[in-house]
Symmetry: C2
Subunit: 420 residues, 2 copies
């Protein structure tokens, strides 16, 4: 099915345009960008605003310019390429990020940016102009390596604060110090805004889970970015000599915490969300002393606030039942994707014969910040074995190409929507 069929507008035929997509060039770009900051044995080291990250983003800028885009770097370090549209409409924005975690892989973020370049390359090679202006954005500092992450997209939508920048960054100093050293103007970053009105944002990213790979489905349609709630749970027992203290008279904080760890898993599974005790701190943590105090961090993630409320209530009861106390920590609300944009992506994929699957995004993305100024939707490409944030993160070459073709089809579908 083409955009023309589905919406009845005179538009570009999706299948014929996508047929001219140059998959080999996309794979070559993944190799070229993936070599910047790659350390053998240590994976990708493109930490936000570090030398390799800046080099990678200058490379992206050059590619945009070579494709004839008007391209620039905004006050937050976001690399922005612009293609004019044929009508006086707000822009369609696509993109993702190219910074990495320490020891990351070549696909997280990068695939979305390079797929955007591939879309522009196809449009340019076929001399196709969209109705809407197109913005391709390589957002700066998406990964949680600075205190303000995702920093670039937050600045782009006007949401960056001084407080967020005052926290620590990956290099041990404050994010402000890291930025100032690289010549960034903090006031300009805070005052930053989108260069033009934006009608919709589409982001392609790797799944970072294994649902697509294990189901053999090439494209995930993100229903929303999950809400995250973190809790600190405190179990106060009594440290004592592990040899001389009777079992019956012990208050072993680790024995108190163990059933709670199992209760978190049970509550998450029962409610169809994810729940994790990822960190535990035991005092004094010595073989011959009964644990006197345990602190642990729980997080739950889900798309539905009501479900998260229910699980939170269960965890508070379970913590108390185990003799502990649950304290709320960090909290991020779920950010739902736009249903019409999701359907547009599905139409595009259908036109290309690509199967899709709806799913939540368990991880945060730049799209979550863009949601403050426009509707958004996301496409996921399969992650082999669900591995991400690791050097052996891998998306099959044909999956990279299919995902980029799906992004192009989705852009064409959205461009054809009369109310966008």
């Amino acid at each position: 099915m083409s955009a023309q069929c589905s919406e009845g507008l005179p538009a570009i035929d999706v299948r014929s345009l996508v047929a001219s997509f140059d998959g080999e060039q996309l794979l070559a770009d993944l190799d070229a960008l993936g070599a910047i900051g790659w350390k053998p044995g240590a994976g990708l080291q493109r930490l936000a605003y570090g030398d390799a990250d800046l080099e990678a983003r200058r490379w992206v800028l050059t590619q945009m310019q070579a494709l004839g885009m008007q391209a620039w770097i905004d006050p937050a370090g976001n690399v922005i390429g612009h293609l004019p549209g044929s009508e006086p409409l707000p822009a369609l924005a696509i993109g993702s990020h190219t910074d990495s975690v320490p020891g990351g892989g070549k696909f997280d973020g990068a695939l979305g940016v390079l797929a955007g370049l591939a879309c522009v390359r196809t449009l340019r090679s076929q001399d196709v102009q969209l109705r809407h202006p197109l913005l391709l954005i390589d957002f700066a500092a998406e990964e949680a390596t600075t205190s303000a992450s995702p920093t670039g997209s937050l600045s782009f939508v006007g949401g960056l604060t001084q407080t967020a920048l005052d926290g620590p960054s990956w290099d041990g100093r404050s994010t402000v110090a890291l930025l100032t050293d690289h010549g960034f103007n903090i006031a300009a970053m805070i005052a930053n805004r989108p260069p033009m009105p934006i009608a919709a944002f589409l982001e392609l990213h790797i799944e970072q889970g294994d649902r697509l790979a294990s189901a053999g489905v090439p494209i995930g349609i993100v229903e929303g970015i999950v809400g995250i709630r973190r809790y600190y749970v405190h179990f106060q027992g009594q440290a004592n000599h592990a040899g001389t203290t009777d079992m019956k008279r012990r208050r072993d904080a680790l024995v108190m915490a163990a059933p709670f760890i199992l209760a978190v898993r049970e509550a998450a599974m029962t409610h169809g969300i994810v729940g994790t005790v990822g960190r535990i701190e035991v005092h004094p943590n010595t073989p011959n002393v009964i644990p006197g105090r345990v602190m642990l961090d729980v997080e739950i993630r889900g798309l539905d606030d009501a479900v998260l409320d229910r699980v939170e209530a269960i965890l508070a009861v379970e913590a108390a039942r185990c003799g502990g106390t649950l304290h709320p920590g960090h909290r991020k609300e779920p950010v739902l994707a736009d249903p019409k944009l999701m359907e547009a992506i599905e139409r595009g994929c259908e036109a290309l014969g690509l199967r899709t699957m709806r799913m939540p995004s368990g991880a945060g993305h730049d799209a979550m910040n863009l949601a403050a100024i426009c509707p958004y939707a996301m496409l996921f490409a399969p992650s082999e074995q669900g591995v991400s944030h690791a050097p052996d993160e891998w998306t099959q070459p044909h999956d990279c190409i299919n995902a980029a073709r799906a992004l192009l089809a989705a852009v064409l579908e959205v461009d054809a929507m009369p109310d966008v």
Copy 2:
């Protein structure tokens, strides 16, 4: 009942001699010794072979000499006082230690040494000579602050090895370096032996548990020092993104380990021993990453090797059931007290009208090393709340005095035994 009644030998009347015991002087000694190395807010800091420890042991030497004992410091730093006996018999040895853990209390070890001084003071003041020579020993470096602990008693019985000394000490350097810096001759420490044959060793120590205090019984009779078995248990899961990885596809090493922690407690309680998971190490231990690997240390302690074997077998099965593997670590065999010496202590206490209770010692003591060369028995004094190895470690003044009087009565009883 007196020693004379019980054994039918012409001996010293226990009750009349103990009646002259100077309890106030014992309390004054506890205060005087407890001031050496005491840091307000940080408790007792008499770490083995450190300045405060050496000062405390020179103080003990002076006290012995003031009581007319022949007293010296042996190659391991043990302070030894000698009173001749009236018959050509092997010696009775009594004593304990005066070094402390970092942030220890005033009673652990010190009570046994000062009670020994009080016994000698009573014998001297009443001009009573025992049949056996008496050795009062303040053993060096009993606490686990050196790699060879209990170092002084190990050297005393000829059991010290170079290998044991090559390990680390509390000050970060090797035990050899710590000793050499303080002028100790390593070869002489290894060649060290008891200065004369020893017929029996009696050690008074605080319980370090709360069985006596909670039962209101003033004297514990130690049946033996428990065997200790440590195990490393390894749970290998798979680290992954806590947001993007489905609950069903997780291999969360902490979720694997939690039921094992509970199984350790269950197995110990069922078998009447103690079992503890005191240390746990989680990788990567980050709130948003599923734990990929957990290592934990289990120890079990008990007097009966057959019971320890049974619990070890259960723990291996439980670890496997939870997806982990159990690896044996450090192991110390149980060291049983001598039944005749235990009865002698009980007779002495009965003569003084002091209730006793038999119990295992969950902690190691110098007596465990002395067992290599002679029969031993131990008396325990109550620890309030079971607190030990802490600044607020406390034994009531009347309990200190009763325990020291019981030690004196036990010495008289043992001295009267025809086959010792």
